[in-house]
Symmetry: C2
Subunit: 250 residues, 2 copies
DNA sequence: ATTAATTTTATCATTATGTAGGAATTTTAA
DNA sequence: TTAAAATTCCTACATAATGATAAAATTAAT
């Protein structure tokens, strides 16, 4: 299984800093023979994963845009949680975030901004590690014991830095506390001066699938405000999870 | 190059009708051995092109969402044309569309709706054939003679149905007329009772790269209105193309 | 519209890599 | 904690990938 990885490796080249690659540049970067490279690029282009225009090299193909659309419209979480989140963000003049767990990271899948005080850098399509910030940690708190174990060993330092505990027992305790409260708030773990308040979302089988959160400037809010918002967010999230249970996904 | 195609073939299974696939279902559909299939699925999953959750099978992975984001933020067309288009749509209480050419189809990459009278079904991520509708035909009109030839032979019927002419000479003439006017309007080619008014967008090398268009209900507009809007759209598109020329893409 | 230059694809002998089936392991669920 | 299920590993064998070159397609210029 080395060939397939080499094919897909080509996709890894494309980044925000360098979204366009000439054939020669790919050749230099990855070092295939010209005919092999042309073969690879044709396969990826035919699949819509790359596009090419004469004299302008290769860039990411339409398939990514099309499949993002497909994911968007088939995601029951967005359909259910989106409107409620928008309203919540508007009511509280803050930023609303809907995140999903993808293996060991957390991806923003929907966002609504209802304030100019925060420059939200967390739009649909941006991923974060599962360790920092309320929207991530509330997911972490609901992983199965087995999954937490598996995750902890190679990431002990990250857990420690995120103030979740310095050993597995400590981490378990912190996460258990988050579960007991039903919502979770952090300050400045992602952006300084910004508070995040998050609640967990469960899928139709009752497994953790994402988080529902509000992000607001730390200055204006008391811990009492945070508690009130936490309860609100948790209530909304719970309702969504229950609806999801009744109307199973496709 | 048969192996790689089989890998990517798996992605073709995922659709709006069936966004979730169990291993067994894929096995039935494509007929690899179990170990090979697991190997394929692991490769795709490691690459972020698929995700899997226990008991819920496989679905499209986070990479599509992340790369869509990347494409969105690195697309100079969206950056330049987006705001102007939004304003144009608002002013005229209609739907604004920004499309891009991807080989033989046209993809909507940005949309702004400023009316409730049309149910716009053309959001970011939706693709259409290059033959029907103003937003497509205006791109068709600016293909090179060679590309038009190549496209015509296997699609003569489609050209005819789209009323672009019944032979290559006729098609050339229709398209030449569109070029001469600088904008193009069609009625009901995509949605009955809906008028589309489009102008071409050229990249920094002067090649056709997309279209800029407004979509509005046919009832309320006179052909004089259409002409006025056409000139406006063409002017805006021209300005964008010129800006693009000065500020070359990454 | 024709022609020259460039880019892309096809061909084919050689060599390396993927495949399938069962065993071992990991992960989930009870 | 243990049993069940899902996933990955292992190896002999078959098959397809590779790269140099030739042919074709596409672009650019006249």
């Amino acid at each position: 299984m080395q060939r397939h990885e080499r094919l897909i490796q080509i996709l890894d080249l494309f980044s925000q800093e360098k979204p366009n690659w000439e054939l020669e540049e790919i050749h230099t970067a990855l070092g295939h023979s010209k005919s092999t490279l042309y073969r690879y690029l044709k396969t990826l282009t035919d699949a819509g994963l790359l596009t090419t225009f004469p004299g302008r090299g290769y860039s990411l193909g339409s398939r990514f845009v099309e499949f993002d659309y497909l994911i968007r419209v088939t995601d029951p979480l967005i359909r259910l949680a989106g409107p409620v989140l928008t309203q919540l963000a508007e009511t509280n003049a803050c930023v609303g975030l809907l995140c999903r767990r993808y293996s060991d990271k957390v991806l923003c899948v929907f966002q609504h901004t209802a304030t100019t005080k925060i420059h939200s850098s967390y739009e649909r399509g941006k991923a974060r590690p599962i360790f920092r910030g309320a929207a991530s940690q509330v997911i972490l708190a609901h992983l199965s014991a087995y999954q937490l174990n598996r995750l902890y060993t190679p990431n002990a330092a990250a857990f420690s830095e995120a103030r979740l505990g310095d050993d597995l027992a400590g981490v378990r305790q912190s996460l258990s506390a988050i579960r007991a409260v039903g919502w979770h708030a952090t300050e400045g773990q992602v952006t300084p001066g910004v508070v995040g308040i998050a609640a967990p979302l469960f899928d139709e089988r009752g497994d953790i699938t994402g988080s529902y959160s509000l992000t607001l400037p730390a200055g204006n809010v008391t811990s009492e405000d945070i508690r009130t918002l936490g309860v609100t967010v948790a209530g909304a999230a719970q309702e969504i999870s229950q609806t999801l249970k009744k109307a199973p996904a496709s």
